[in-house]
Amino acid sequence: MTLRKTIEVVTKLAERRVIGSYAIAGAVAALNYIEPMLTEDLDILISIDGFEKRSSGLLLLAPIEKALADMGYTERTNVGYNVEDWPVQFLPVSSALDEEALADAIDLDISQSGETPLKARCLRAEHVVAIALKVGRLKDLARIQAFLEQDAVELALLKAVLEKHNLTGTWKEFCIKAVIKNPLADTK
């Protein structure tokens, strides 16, 4: 019951085409760039192709639920599907930013040394930061600060993403809240 096994199950869902494009998002994606920190769950950003959409806009993730059940994962909590003892939340793309983040995701090897390489998709640093900014909970803002403090995001790339998705104002508000000088001010 490890996070690696949980991600492996997600890769199997992709192999079986239960989910289309996907990428590890949130705190676990941040792990690729900043120091390890505790997290409660695994967020997986997924494309909406192939899922039934209700007139209310609600997307039905029944195919995922069924595939997980077929693989023996039937437990579901308010945090997500329980896969190898880790709650997994599948988050359908809900904005142009999400869409771009998913398209630009990178492949990471999650295998242990000596094992057959196992690739999983993961969001890029600038998208992890931009999405955290947009979500805007305190823990998201703390994550952004960790990226900045640990020089874990390329500022020019981040600036371009924020400008493209109209998040520059939100970024300035974050800098005021965090009591930091805007690191993007002098970035070209």
């Binding site: 690696r4 120091e35 390890p36 920190m37 505790l38 999650i110 295998s111 640990q150």
Partner: protein
């Protein structure tokens, strides 16, 4: 707080800690960090269980009072 008392400057300690975080962020690859999160989770599990148990006790205590 006495006036004019001298306090140490801790900025160097904070700078060292920040450097440590930067180093830890770069030293391990993603797979190693996944292991680190599992280990961290296992270490805090007893604390979380105890917290949940206290919460449950408080809830049940309140329910018994009402």
């Amino acid at each position: 707080m006495s006036k004019g008392k001298q306090y140490p400057d801790n900025s160097e300690i904070f700078a060292r800690k920040a450097q440590g975080r930067r180093d830890r962020a770069r030293q391990a690859n993603f797979a190693e960090k996944l292991d680190a999160v599992d280990a961290l989770r296992a270490r805090v599990a007893p604390i979380i269980r105890a917290r949940e148990s206290r919460k449950r006790d408080r809830r049940e205590g309140k329910a018994n009072q009402s």
